[in-house]
């Protein structure tokens, strides 16, 4: 990093190292008082105070007054450049919320385990409260929040956030998720499915960073894919592009929750995998299966490997049709590493059209289980960029937008904003003006 060309042990490199420690601590905790910073880094309060002043001048950090848990305190936070965006991921068993600024930094995040079949009203209440708490953690007000990106575990109608394939989350069908969350926070909410947003994040920041055409395969409770073609997210006409979980693999197989027969998900979905282990291993959860496979349990490894092969055979078709440079494999089952990846890769290379010039690469996701929420942040940024494009071109250098700009996914239908989006354009606009000077020094 920046430290590269200074000699270790010189005062300069020591100061650089101390700066690094302070910035790391601020990033990790969201916001800290100078006294807390001294304690967290082991540096003296005098050193902290000097370095914080430098970082303030350089526009790297900001100070904000908060009254968290009743105490008034001035917290040092990362500089927010123009405002904040939130990313929310609603998963079958977890809620993840992150706050980011308009650069690529995440300023605070929190995960919350959820019960199976969690209720939409409770979960969206919790999502809203977590967003507010994270804002409070970094000393920000709700009006600094420009937009929210929301990742849902299935294809959604981008106008309303309604999940368009039935049965993805029990009790969430017919719900305009984006509008419901938008009402709770009075901010614009942009919704897309988790695999699309993970694909976006891996393209912007992760394993597909070097490539224009990539397929992100998400193998978890269900299976789906996100397609990035020519650096743009391809959602399809109704948002169901990449739904490989509903490609038929067995014409005589069981009926799928979508109504078709023998879909890939009826073979490799969590229910199917756990069902095939029931007589030998008893009642397991997906997490148990992943843990046992990691520990070397042969039955669990076999089930994951067979799933990898079945998914790979379907992805091979996608690879033949779309000719991506890379297939990125993520989702809960990808935590088993090569147990899933090796057979999946073999199946792709066996069944896809042989590329003599450049065979497709099949690689693990780089962002792990944070890909979806990082993608949700990217979506919120993109939509904000679209709304404020003229301003951003003005007062802002290109550094703050690198990687999030008009690249992937900002196609016309990509997570198109909700009606409310227009109403809140103005506060964001004012902040953008006010924050513009901060970017100069960074």
């Amino acid at each position: 990093m920046r430290r590269g060309n200074t000699t270790p042990g010189t005062p300069t490199s020591l100061r650089e190292a101390n700066r690094g420690r302070i910035v790391d601590a601020v990033k990790r905790f969201g916001g800290l008082t100078q006294v807390e910073l001294a304690a967290a880094t082991g540096l003296s309060t005098a050193t902290v105070s000097t370095i914080v002043r430098e970082l303030l001048d350089a526009g790297v950090v900001e100070t904000h007054a908060t009254s968290r848990s009743g105490r008034r305190a001035v917290k040092v936070t990362m500089a927010r450049r123009l405002g904040l965006v939130a990313g929310v991921e609603v998963g079958p068993r977890a809620l993840r919320v992150a706050l980011g600024d308009l650069t690529l930094s995440v300023v605070a995040d929190q995960t919350m385990p959820l019960p199976s079949d969690h209720r939409s009203d409770t979960t969206l209440d919790r999502a809203a409260l977590l967003v507010v708490d994270l804002l409070d953690r970094v000393g920000a007000e709700l009006d600094e929040l420009l937009a929210i990106g929301l990742a849902m575990p299935g294809p959604v109608d981008s106008a309303t956030g309604e999940v368009t394939v039935r049965g993805v989350l029990r009790g969430w069908d017919d719900l305009h998720v984006g509008q419901v969350l938008s009402k709770r926070l009075a901010r614009p909410v942009h919704v897309d499915k988790d695999a699309n947003l993970a694909a976006l994040a891996e393209h912007d920041l992760g394993a597909a960073r070097e490539h224009h055409d990539s397929v992100y395969v998400r193998v978890g409770h269900t299976t789906s894919a996100g397609l990035v073609l020519g650096d743009r997210l391809h959602r399809g006409y109704a948002g169901t592009a990449g739904e490989i979980g509903h490609v038929q693999v067995d014409p005589a197989g069981p009926v799928c929750r979508c109504g078709n027969r023998g879909c890939l998900d009826t073979v490799v979905g969590a229910q199917a995998l756990l069902g095939s282990l029931r007589s030998s291993h008893g009642d397991l959860t997906l997490r148990d299966l992943i843990a046992h496979a990691g520990e070397g349990d042969p039955g669990c490894r076999r089930v994951v490997a067979d799933a990898g092969r079945a998914v790979g055979e379907v992805v091979a078709g996608l690879v033949t049709v779309l000719n991506p440079q890379v297939v990125v494999v993520g989702g809960e089952l990808a935590r088993t590493g090569d147990v899933l990846l090796d057979p999946l890769r073999t199946a792709i290379l066996t069944h896809a059209i042989p590329g003599r010039l450049a065979p497709v690469e099949v690689v693990p996701a780089a962002l792990g289980d944070r890909a979806e929420v990082l993608g949700a942040l990217a979506l919120a940024r993109q939509q904000t960029d679209v709304q404020h494009a003229h301003l951003l071109r003005h007062g802002h250098g290109d550094d703050a937008l690198s990687g999030t700009g008009s690249g992937a996914g900002s196609g016309p239908r990509s997570g198109a904003g909700l009606g409310e989006g227009d109403d809140v354009g103005h506060p964001g606009t004012q902040r953008a003006d006010g924050g513009a000077h901060e970017s100069e020094a960074s």
Binding site: A25, F29, G30, L32, V35, E36, L37, A39, A40, R68, S69, R71, R93, L95, Q110, T111, M112, P113, L114, P115, S116, D117, H118, T122, D125, R126, L129, L130, D133, L134, D283, T285, A291
Partner: protein, 245 residues
């Protein structure tokens, strides 16, 4: 790992526990749920060695044991966070963690070792408490719960008992504590989680055990059971299927 069979406990005329069975394994979160006065805290105190049962058998790793005192419980690898946290507001995080079990070096305290260990445990729990020298008085309710949980980890316990750890916490604080509970399981501990918040319980538990009027009234795999089924067992609308042991 820890196994209780036929535990009875009365307070004079009040029968708090009657023939209660409970098992906890490594890598497992068992939730103990039930209405007020169902006997949950009493059972926690029996496991913690604070109360001695009138009858019943306790086994740890297959061997019969008596848990006569809190110290004995700790020696057996059982750590408990009680409903009333028993933390000292005027002391800092390190002092609270090591209260009564300070690390010594020569004749003095080994402050450095205690700080290092405190940081390590808080990191394992992915805690957000920035400084281990913060006085407890300024921490939020959620952070105090974190300190209480961290304290149980000092003795490298095998079983951690948490009595109502999310009562009176905000959503964000609850999220933190539930995440800690998942960390405890991932670290390999067995966890007994006492709560009457069904959402929290179903979020992190592997198994749900219902107590009603001091007796077992149902056992459910948490991933498969519905909210309504658990509530029916708590209210007594449903009875446990007749399975012995």
């Amino acid at each position: 790992m820890l196994s209780l069979r036929g535990i009875d406990k009365s307070f004079g005329p009040v029968v708090a526990l009657e023939g209660v069975d409970l098992d906890v394994h490594a890598h497992e979160v068992v939730a103990l749920v039930g209405d007020n006065a169902a006997g949950k805290s009493t059972l926690a105190k029996v496991v913690a060695g604070v109360l001695s049962p009138d009858a019943g058998l306790i086994e740890m790793a297959g061997r019969p044991v008596t848990i006569g005192s809190a110290a004995q419980a700790r020696a057996l690898g059982i750590a408990t966070v009680f409903q009333e946290l028993a933390l000292c507001d005027n002391l800092d995080v390190v002092q609270n963690l090591f209260l009564g079990q300070e690390l010594r070096r020569g004749r003095g305290l080994d402050e450095e070792a205690m700080e290092d260990r405190a940081r390590e445990i808080l990191r394992d729990l992915t805690s957000r408490i920035p400084s281990v020298r913060t006085p407890l008085a300024v921490l939020s309710a959620g952070q105090r719960q974190t300190v209480a949980i961290a304290r149980t980890l000092l003795g490298s316990p095998r079983v951690v008992v948490l009595d109502e750890p999310t009562a009176s916490l905000s959503v964000a604080q609850t999220a933190e504590v539930l995440t800690h509970i998942e960390s405890l399981r991932n670290l390999g501990h067995g966890v007994i989680l006492i709560s009457h918040n069904m959402g929290d319980v179903r979020a992190v538990a592997d198994r749900i055990e219902v107590l009603r009027h001091g007796r077992n009234n149902g056992s459910f795999p948490a991933a498969a059971v519905s909210y309504e089924e658990v509530v029916a067992a708590i209210t007594g609308a449903s009875r446990p299927r007749a399975v012995a042991g």
